[in-house]
């Protein structure tokens, strides 16, 4: 590949940004890469943030490579602690907030997602979606603290497990009826709840937080929960601000085609900021596995051979040792779960209204059947 190829600019230094850069470097060692990031640019594995205590690590311990080393590993020029001010699609040019101008041959948005904030949780609620967030979280966490987790979803349950196992007092509150209601049928959600309760987690389900004042949360049903630290884990919203400002088409996340190209030529996106182009409907899939598949295909595209990403069924591991859980989320919620087994060892298959099996969930010892169930599922996106 000629060294004169116009630079690739990657916005974002999370798992998506670095994985893409690494895959691209396997195909092309010469084309300049710029990585622009609001973070410091270190390499870390985000799923570890919610199991750091189990790994006996603090925020620094989770850093796999410091910024200079991470950037050097993919021969990229790092623009750390720097936001993008604007994108000029016609001129193929990115302007950074420090007025640096980067001309690009190809631009990749890997801008991630931002935790959803609920005003009722007050200004002191902490959310964790980056390693810097995690560093602040640990610094604000008193010894033996009482932690109130708002949100019984994937991240909330993982943090509850990690914190209670490390000796913290943990309450979880959510308006839903059982944990992970969008991913698990009730029987499995209850199995997960029972596993966490056996470790000491207290669940307050069916009521949201109405207000927070002086270390006490008042729930919708009038109950109160005292806490030292409030961890908000309500959900994620794709970061599309930059894409919208540039005029790129967006749905929930940035709209991309099967090759992860946006509505503009020479501009691509992957990771938590996109609507993954699933055959059953594009939607955010803020998990690790879609990034690996997207990055591998996108690297080929950037190297000159447009490649659609074949996306297989991609099971998500819920890191709750209290009740091992694995779920391959159904991409369309119209359908029903069928559950078999004895709690906590349950296997569930989701059958869509058209009769196709489109998702599964396994808890307890049933998680060992992962390969068998994954093989039954249709791919997320088929490439012929």
């Amino acid at each position: 590949m000629a060294a004169t190829s116009a630079p690739i600019v990657i916005v974002g230094s999370g798992h998506a940004g670095y994985t893409l850069a690494r895959e691209f470097r396997k195909l092309d060692e010469a084309t300049p890469i710029h990585i622009v990031t609001r973070d410091d640019g270190c390499a870390y594995y985000k799923p570890n943030l919610s199991k750091a205590f189990a790994m006996d690590k603090d925020a620094d311990g989770l850093v796999q490579q410091p910024p200079e080393q991470a950037a050097a590993g993919v021969a990229a020029q790092l623009h750390a602690h720097t936001a993008v001010a604007s994108i000029d699609l016609d001129a193929q040019r990115v302007v950074l907030e420090d007025d640096t101008v980067l001309d690009y041959g190809q631009l990749v948005l890997a801008t991630g997602a931002t935790p959803v904030r609920l005003p009722a949780l007050g200004p002191d609620a902490v959310s964790v979606n980056t390693i810097d967030d995690y560093r602040r979280f640990r610094a604000a966490l008193p010894e033996k603290a009482r932690v109130l987790v708002a949100g019984a979803g994937l991240i909330g349950c993982e943090f509850a497990n990690d914190l209670v196992a490390a000796g913290y007092s943990v309450d979880v509150v959510d308006i839903c009826s059982w944990p992970l209601p969008r991913l698990l049928p009730e029987a499995q959600g209850r199995a997960l709840q029972a596993g966490l309760e056996a470790l000491g987690v207290r669940f307050h389900l069916g009521a949201g937080i109405a207000q927070v004042a002086d270390g006490t949360a008042t729930l919708d049903d009038g109950a109160t929960v005292d806490f030292d630290l409030l961890l908000s884990a309500i959900g994620l919203k794709p970061n599309t601000t930059l894409a919208v400002a540039a005029g790129l088409q967006c749905g929930h996340g940035i709209t991309v085609d099967a090759a992860f190209q946006t509505s503009a030529s020479h501009v691509y996106a992957l990771g938590d900021c996109v609507d993954v182009p699933a055959d059953d409907g594009a939607q955010p899939m803020p998990y690790i596995l879609p990034i690996a598949h997207a990055a591998r295909a996108l690297a080929k595209t950037l190297a000159g051979e447009r490649t659609e990403a074949a996306l297989p069924a991609m099971p998500v591991i819920v890191k709750t040792p209290a009740c091992p859980t694995l779920v391959c989320p159904p991409l369309n919620s119209a359908g029903h779960w069928q559950v078999e087994g004895t709690a906590p060892d349950l296997e569930a298959v989701f059958t869509a209204d058209d009769g196709r099996e489109t998702g599964f969930a396994l808890t307890g010892a049933a998680t060992k059947k992962r390969g068998e169930f994954a093989g039954r599922m249709p791919p997320v996106h088929r490439v012929d």
Binding site: P47, I288, I291, A292, H293, R296, K369
Partner: protein
């Protein structure tokens, strides 16, 4: 028998245990796993996985 660690996500492949749930029999050597195999946790491919022997 050796173990291999995924440098991206710390997944451990233990040759002695294999990965029966993925059809890889106990005792399968690392070099006998197909090149198309990817890490079950993070999806990294075998070659770029930078797996290293840990004992």
């Amino acid at each position: 028998m050796r173990k291999w660690r995924c440098m991206i996500c710390d997944f451990i492949y233990d040759e002695a245990k294999g990965l029966p749930e993925e059809g890889i029999e106990p005792g399968t050597k690392w070099e006998d796993i197909p090149d198309s195999w990817t890490c079950p946790d993070c999806g990294a491919s075998k070659d770029d996985f930078e797996m290293v022997p840990i004992d």
